[in-house]
């Protein structure tokens, strides 16, 4: 029975549907795994009693027609969950218990699943290694000295260590795809507007998107179908019919045109990343796809643009944490202003403070045009690069990250070197496009590496199909040894 947790979400759903396992036994199997994996520090909060109650309710009155029948799921602690503490990895929300449920998690529960616990993440999703969380570093199951990626590091770690059958994260500049790549799992950032942002702790609202993190492409399709959909409560939610991504999954990619952007070959990129990219191209070509060289000339300006736009929006979004209506309040502070200043100083960690200060500065009087307006113009150019390319291709193939998982503490003293991790993922957020990271191989140390597929807006089905065909022919198997229990 312990082996059930090694299986894919799709296989588990089949077992539940054919009554080979009850929701209660399934939930108990995950609880056992979670309890023996404390070293990974993937969870901030567990909700075992509540999960067992829900599992029992399902077993008493099962509905097997749902997409996620009786499936326990842990989610990133950035999604507000009704009556369950939601911290966003921050001290400033260490006692925050939402009285409402985020739309995305509500959609998951409406499809038959229930909450197993809340997963650690970088503070306010600001980080690429899960080292900025107030609740401690998360460890990558691939190796006890490795970061799991970030900001959805608790999600990637828990998924790869079989602590949840699938999970969800959020991606503002790569926070789903980079941790997926570091742990040998699948992560999808949907088109901006496909998944509701309502009830997700906001970081940079024009970039934030929630998305699935799973073991297989098929699981990814099931989760995306379960969580997406129009929501009146999010003003940027796209009003369209829900897609049946899992039912429509096809592995025939013959004749599809795959763009290969020359700007994604960067200096100092390990040879293995380049070789993996070559391997990916060959697999797609052998499957009948046509490779086309393209150019996205403004790629190198994506990260500098991001580090204006994202902090600017963050400084505005995080202004709400003032110690008055919810969250942490400093005991110091003689007057109102001092109370604000102390609360925010004690409540936020260093990286969050850094980004609020950058954002405040670039939006301040006299500097707005030089920074924020300039960044919005360059963002236009980056989007145009993609628009022009997509006139002649169906999808783009790139590496997901410039390296495999790095060591804990390796990049914490140099913010810019940490930021460079997101060099291949950030352009997609700026252009609002969907992109998938899929495991493709390992480097010479045996650490997983991923490839990224970028699609046209709302063309998730196509990149899932390409990923599905790729997965069947790539032969990647995640060989994680259980060292933590």
């Amino acid at each position: 029975m312990t082996e059930i947790t090694r299986q894919s979400l799709n296989e588990i759903i089949e077992k539940v549907k054919t009554k080979k396992i009850s929701s209660t036994d399934l939930t108990k199997a995950y609880i056992k795994n979670i309890e023996s994996a404390k070293k990974l520090n993937a969870f901030v909060t567990t909700t075992f009693d509540q999960a067992l109650d829900k599992a029992q309710q399902f077993d008493n009155k099962p509905n097997f027609d749902q997409l996620l029948p009786g499936i326990p799921l842990a989610v990133k602690d950035l999604f507000c969950t009704e009556n369950t503490k939601t911290t966003a990895g921050s001290n400033i929300l260490n006692n925050f218990i939402p009285s409402y449920e985020s739309t995305v998690t509500k959609n998951l529960w409406n499809n038959g699943s229930f909450l197993l616990g809340k997963l650690n993440c970088d503070e306010f999703a600001m980080g690429s290694s899960n080292e900025t969380s107030h609740y401690g570093n998360v460890i990558n199951p691939v190796g006890d000295h490795l970061v799991p990626g970030g900001s959805s590091g608790g999600s990637s770690s828990a998924l790869a260590a079989d602590l949840t059958p699938a999970t969800i994260g959020t991606d503002t500049g790569g926070s789903i795809r980079q941790p997926a790549s570091f742990t040998g799992t699948v992560g999808l950032k949907p088109t901006y507007g496909l998944c509701s942002r309502w009830g997700i702790v906001a970081f940079a609202s024009s970039l934030d998107q929630a998305g699935p993190m799973t073991k297989t492409i098929q699981d990814c399709a099931i989760m995306l179908e379960s969580m997406s959909g129009f929501d009146e409560k999010d003003s940027t939610s796209i009003n369209k019919k829900n897609e049946q991504y899992s039912k429509n999954l096809k592995d025939n990619i013959k004749g599809l045109k795959i763009g290969i952007p020359k700007e994604y070959r960067v200096d100092n990129m390990p040879k293995e990343v380049d070789e993996l990219w070559e391997k990916g191209k060959k697999i797609l070509k052998d499957l009948g796809a046509q490779l086309i060289d393209i150019s996205l000339p403004h790629t190198k300006y994506a990260l500098p643009t991001y580090y204006i736009v994202a902090p600017a929006e963050a400084s505005s979004n995080l202004a709400r944490y003032d110690g008055v209506r919810y969250g942490y309040r400093s005991k110091q502070g003689k007057d109102l202003i001092e109370m604000y200043e102390k609360t925010r100083s004690e409540g936020f960690g260093d990286e969050v403070k850094r980004r609020i200060l950058i954002g405040t500065y670039v939006l301040s009087s006299g500097y707005y045009d030089a920074y924020y307006l300039k960044a919005q113009k360059v963002r236009q150019l980056i989007k145009k690069d993609f628009d022009d390319s997509f006139k002649k291709i169906d999808a783009i193939l790139t590496p997901s990250t410039p390296s495999s998982a790095f060591k804990i503490g390796e990049k914490t003293n140099d913010p810019v070197s940490m930021y460079l991790n997101d060099i291949f993922t950030v352009p997609v957020n700026l252009a609002g496009l969907p992109a998938l990271s899929m495991p493709a191989g390992v480097d010479k140390q045996g650490h997983p590496l991923g490839l990224q597929l970028i699609g046209k807006a709302l063309d998730e089905q196509k990149i899932l199909n390409i990923g599905y065909a790729f997965e069947k022919n790539c032969g990647f198997k995640n060989e994680i040894k259980k060292w933590w229990s």
Binding site: F96, E232, A319, V378
Partner: protein, 95 residues
Amino acid sequence: MSLDKEKIKNVAKLARISVDEAKVESLTKDLNSIFKFIEQLNELNTDKVEPLTSILNQSLRSRKDEISDGKIREKILKNSPKENEEFFVVPKVVE
């Protein structure tokens, strides 16, 4: 351009974050390296480019201004660090 300690203290004031005197030095160094990185954008001529203000092809929806919720004062006050019956309580602001 470079940021000096005074400028950083001023920005911190605007952001309502008190910064430890001991940390100002390292913060100045970090922010200057980030700004140096950001300022690569100045290589580009963007005189004729329209700023991108929304990534969506649709304009923002509007809805009728109707109350769809309400009577949840208790729920809203539940997470407040300090409250008094139906109010949030803050340090005294008037003498």
